[in-house]
Amino acid sequence: MASETSPRPADSLLDIQRTWWDRLAFIGRLLWRDKGGMLGLFLFLLVVFSAVFAPWIAPHDPLEQVMEDSKMPPAWSVGGSWEHPLGTDTLGRDIFSRIIYGSRVSLTVGFFGVLIAGTLGMIIGAIAGYLGGRVDSVITNTVNLVLSLPYLLFVVFIAAIFGRSLLNVILIFGITDAPIFARVTRGEVLKIRESGYVESARCAGASWARIVFDHIMPNLIGPLITLATFEMSAMIFYEAGLGFLGLSVPPSVPSWGNMLAAGRQYLTSYPWIATFPGVAIMITSLGMNLLGDWLRDVLDPRLRRARK
């Protein structure tokens, strides 16, 4: 007789009975089907790749100033040269190299900003959701309070107090963004708590750590990874905004925001100086949004089904 257990459609990636290999293959299959997600992943990996291998990809030192070559247009324009594929800025620095190195700043800000915000938010949100009661209401109200403040004010204050540095920008984003993570975590934890299976696991004698890692974490990880993707993209965006206001990383650091801010004065006569950092931000953001959309669909089986 043929096999008794015929293969069944997968309900969720996080189905505990699946092996990691299964899950990976499954992700691959899903990715292949969703071309938007694939493009997103590709763009994201492209940015990560350029950040990691910046010294090998970038044709020039991003800080090297060659005044004789300043304001050179991109290679395909009249007067351009493949020596500087995207042209040079007012100080004769290679824009392509600066964009490559700029991805380091953007990703660092995005990654560590989300890491801090996510960690802080998860702890706070989990405490609120798990303990409930008065602790919950205090935390929820504080979170609402922070979220109801004009965001920019925060940022300007902190920048004013501590000055411009990469660490400060990361800290600012990490702190101001934590409430969002806290809110989502709390919601999910509440949902899980209400579903009752944590209770049953506890009755079954599962340890505290086991409950957290086997039951709460897998359910949290989906929404949080999705949120993290979107927030990371938002932070890359905000970094550019801060750069625009002259509040981002120090001016000597080649960040996309700084490049955009510096280039905006030359938009009419030397448009490439501001255009390419803008395009870089757009592509990264596009990639991460696509990736986030896809992750949300994949990690939330409810929505995945709806998309069929």
Binding site: G36, P73, W76, G163, P251, T268
Partner: protein
């Protein structure tokens, strides 16, 4: 989905490429006409005017009748149109058009009569008698008399004034008769007349009494060439020509509208789109762009501002190598300011020869430090630091155009002679906070402007030791010379004192002297007879429009 998304991406990229590719390749700028007028009077003012195109000038109207609207873009909203409350150049420019002072400082720096027809100074220089112009009325019809001068002085020292010391420079202002006032000072005050020009803008006594300070701020009134019409907060201020202005044939435009545009690229766009006629404070690059725009002319001139890297011998710099004058000299030799100016400002700046700007009294006695790294190394070795040393330095961000890059460059040059600089950037407001508390590192960059035509205020402010909030340097010899200047009325002797001070400050430099910047302004080519001052001030009473709309 894939095809569509890829399509989107392709479109975006293509559009960007087109935007980039279609842009005019930077054409070498053609300067058709360079007018270089060097007016040598008491103080040499160098003004270079670069005009892109020969302007077709319609003949000055025979019978002067104010015509047209001048749309003037300011880089920020004035905080007030009441002169004693003005906080910055934007407010100063907008406000000044409403009033007249007793004496006026001409474009070439001479003090000429304005609301005072003439004046006499006592022998000891402490008493001035002003004979006031008769038949002048304020915009509300109130006649101008001696009482108004007294009121201006009193209000200037009172509540709501940011500059009380500019009025208290006079010990008393007394009425002799309706058209004669006596101004007495505590000892000779050489800067009295210039200060009166800058600050003593006469306000109507009765009106002020009636409406109070708040009322006055809402609807300011003076005797000036333009009358206040409205101030739409955040958006614009409108003035109308004063038909009864005491200067014959002025003003020559009928209306002035000040628009507030913080973003300089937007000012450039607005000027290009002919939505404004005139804008100040552009960067060299923006000015460059505008050169190729038809119908726009660009001017540049040096402003009375000096950029510097300050040393500290009061707090954080105590006990450091920089207390040795040789080290400070060496650091001046080590920096190639001209190269910095060339690469960052396209040469639009002038190497500072000290702490006196080129438009100011006593300038020219010393030459700027030449770029000589060998000499710098030698001096360092003589001072006992053949291998250099380490030092902290700070610079403000968001304060001045390209100053962040300037500081990076300075640090780079210092490192070339062996001085390891640890450069830190701070947001400007926070920076100035620390500067006032004297908590900045032993090297810090900043700049200082002055409008009086002399360097005294700048010198006193930056070198006044513990008494001056933004000073981190104290030197008894400098104190002594500054004290002498503050008391000397005779112009020639003042000049000599300034010269002595500059020579001393060349040997004992309290700063790394950097540069005097040029400023760029642009206007539609119909704007005529617009002459900004080195202080970036301008008076619009003579301006006219060649083809009024």
């Amino acid at each position: 989905m894939k095809a569509k998304l890829l399509g989107l991406l392709a479109v975006i990229l293509a559009v960007s490429m087109i935007v980039v590719g279609c842009a005019p390749a930077p054409t070498p700028q053609v300067v058709e006409k360079v007018v270089k007028e060097t007016v040598v009077v008491e103080k040499p003012v160098e003004k270079t005017v670069v005009v892109e195109k020969q302007v077709v000038v319609t003949p000055t109207p025979g019978k002067p009748q104010p015509k047209g609207t001048l749309r003037f873009a300011l880089s920020g909203e004035p905080n007030s149109l009441y002169i004693p409350a003005t906080a910055d150049k934007n407010a100063d420019i907008a406000a000044s058009q409403l009033y007249d002072p007793l004496v006026f400082q001409d474009d070439d720096g001479t003090i000429v009569p304005a609301l005072a027809e003439s004046w006499e100074v006592s022998k000891d220089g402490t008493e001035y008698i002003f004979h006031l112009r008769k038949g002048v009325t304020f915009h509300n019809g109130e006649p101008f008399t001696a009482d108004d001068v007294i009121a201006t002085w009193k209000y200037g020292m009172g509540e709501g004034s940011s500059w009380p010391d500019r009025y208290s420079i006079a010990k008393s202002v007394e009425k002799i008769d309706d058209y004669t006032v006596r101004v007495t000072t505590d000892g000779p005050k050489p800067l009295l007349l210039v200060t009166m020009h800058d600050f003593w803008s006469i306000i109507p006594n009765e009106y002020m009494e009636k409406v109070g300070l708040d009322g006055f701020q809402q609807h300011p009134i003076g005797t000036g060439p333009f009358m206040f019409v409205e101030w739409v907060k955040g958006d614009h201020i409108t003035y109308q020509a004063n038909p009864n202005y005491w200067r014959e044939g002025q003003p020559r435009v009928e209306k002035v509208i000040f628009r507030f545009i913080t973003e300089s690229s937007t000012r450039v766009a607005a000027l290009t789109a002919d939505e404004i006629d005139l804008t100040k404070r552009l960067t060299a690059e923006e000015a460059n762009q505008l050169l190729s725009v038809p119908g726009v002319k660009v001017i540049q001139y040096p402003v009375a501002r000096i950029f510097y890297i300050a040393f500290n011998n009061l707090t954080t710099g105590k006990g450091l190598p920089t207390e040795d004058a040789k080290v400070r000299q060496a650091m001046n030799y080590a920096v190639d300011v001209d190269a910095i100016l060339k690469s960052l400002f396209g040469g639009a700046g002038k190497r500072a020869a000290g702490f006196v700007a080129s438009s100011e009294l006593g300038y020219g006695v010393v030459k700027p430090f030449p770029y000589d790294p060998e000499k710098a190394k030698q001096l360092l070795a003589e001072a006992g630091y053949p291998n250099g040393f380490k030092i902290d330095m700070a610079c403000p961000t968001g304060a001045y155009s390209h100053f962040e890059e300037v500081c990076q460059a300075v640090a780079g040059y210092l490192e070339k002679v062996g001085i390891k600089v640890n450069l830190e950037f701070m947001e400007s407001a926070h920076y100035w906070d620390l500067e006032a508390k004297k908590e900045l590192p032993p090297l810090f960059g900043d700049s200082w402007a002055d409008e009086s035509g002399e360097a005294y205020n700048r010198l006193k402010g930056a070198l006044g030791g513990w008494d001056a909030p933004y000073s981190s340097w104290s030197d008894p010899k400098i104190d002594e010379l500054l004290d002498a200047i503050s008391k000397e009325v005779d112009q020639a002797k003042r000049k000599a004192l300034y010269e002595e001070l500059q020579v001393y400050m060349q040997e004992n430099p309290p700063f790394i002297y950097l540069y005097e910047p040029y400023t760029f302004e642009a206007m539609r080519d119909r704007v005529m007879d617009y002459y900004p001052r080195a202080s970036e001030m301008c008076y619009l009473n003579k301006v006219w429009l060649a083809t009024p709309e």
